[in-house]
């Protein structure tokens, strides 16, 4: 069993299966857009528990299974190779591929956490209005239009007052520039009359994704350095 798990052939088979599963999914989603319309609005596992049509969702379960096997395969290969081949002389060259694998594992872990926890919520709020969110109060102080060209080109700034406990603090949310204050607060849209759609996101998996990305970037940098600078690319 261990021999199978640490085999690169197993990796290739799982990758091939994963590609086939995603390929299947890429055909199923466009044909059932209504059914999948809310999949991106909540954690995946919650969505799966609410939508039990297995004929349309089987490939998602299979992809989770494939990713679990791929993770296991990567962990076993990583440990096996570290135990066998680690020597201080060529540390960067040896470690870089493992850092890349560890980065991918952390990203997959982030996906798993995001799929099982957290929440997303859109709130329609007016200027001066206050909304309550668990232990937090958010008030729209002002809506400022930086560039009013109409349609989807307008740019806006939403001035917020946020309270947790006794203290009020101020923050500004803009398109693609959310405020991180326990939750991520997005200024999704704004109207000149002061109406704002605030998006509230709590995604505990995101931190793991970032950690995975950093580890991956370190590994990629090391791989570039060791394979190309040293001229050893085989």
């Amino acid at each position: 069993m261990l021999r199978v798990l640490k085999s690169i052939k197993t990796t290739l088979i799982i990758i091939f299966i994963s590609m086939s599963i995603f390929l299947t999914g890429s055909f199923i989603i466009p044909k059932n857009l209504q059914f999948f319309s809310e999949i991106n609005d909540m954690p995946l596992f919650k969505w799966l528990s609410l939508n039990e049509d297995i004929k349309k969702t089987f490939w998602i379960y299979l992809s989770i299974l494939a990713m679990a096997f791929l993770s296991l395969n990567m962990i076993v290969c990583l440990i096996d190779d570290l135990l066998k081949r680690l020597s201080p002389g060529l540390l960067i060259q040896r470690l870089s591929p493992h850092l890349i694998h560890a980065g991918v594992l952390l990203v997959l872990l982030g996906h798993l956490i995001s799929a099982s926890t957290g929440f997303k919520k859109d709130l329609s709020v007016r200027r001066g209005e206050e909304v309550f969110l668990n232990d937090m109060r958010i008030k729209i102080e002002a809506v400022e239009f930086v560039d009013l060209r109409g349609e989807d080109q307008s740019r806006w700034r939403v001035h917020l007052e946020i309270n947790r406990g006794l203290q009020w603090s101020t923050a500004i949310a803009e398109p693609a520039r959310p405020v991180f204050y326990k939750y991520a607060i997005y200024a999704k849209s704004a109207e000149p009359d002061g109406r704002v759609i605030l998006g509230i996101v709590h995604d505990p998996g995101a931190k793991w994704e970032v950690a995975g990305a950093i580890v991956f970037v370190l590994g990629a940098g090391g791989l570039f350095w060791s394979r190309f600078r040293a001229g050893n690319y085989k």
Binding site: I15, I29, L44, F224
Partner: protein
Amino acid sequence: MFHLFIIILSVVFFSLSLQEGRGGSLCFMGGVTLLLCYILFRFITTGHLPVTDKYDILLMIALVSAFLILLFLKRDESDLVYIRLLPGGFAFLSVFHERINTISPNMNSIWFYLHLSLFIIAFSLFSIGSATGFIYLKTQDEKIESLQYKFILSGWLIFSLSLIAGSVWFFLAHGVYWLWTAKELWTTIVWLYYTFYLHGRFINSLRGPIASEIGVAGIMVLLFSYLGVTPVLGSPWTQF
């Protein structure tokens, strides 16, 4: 009409660059210069880095491919000269896409520009990797196979970084870093496909022509993922 004329002219230059000797090199440089000037013109007229629609992205891929060819493939006399057709091919593909001169506020983020800039470099590297692999299959020159591997490995690393930057941008813009859509699934298929190639090369039975063929076919997966998913699978339209 002006835009079409410039692009067709650059395609002609790249096609003429196949001729031997100095004339071919001059034509290639002519195509590169023309593309560079046109992209600078787009940059000035749109007011943002021209990487926000398929039209400009394909032109950027053409330009970056041309630069990579100039930097890494200097062997004028060999069969590698055919790779000079690639930039012209991408420039030609751009004429089938609409020029969109505006960007939505959500795109106005350094992460978005980083995501697409890295994607353009990765796309170019994958394409040159496919082309060099094709030439290896004809010549069986091991050095060319190594070149293919280098291009695809670099492409894969940069493509991964592009996905990371894209995830950060999408999280900042929309609160999610991954979407269950056909487009994202195909992006994952591309990443897995090249992962398959890179790992397959470690197996003796696949190393050599078979791995090279897998690398060559990658361009089809890549092109379908970028240009085919929306029209063929009916996935929602994306600007870039």
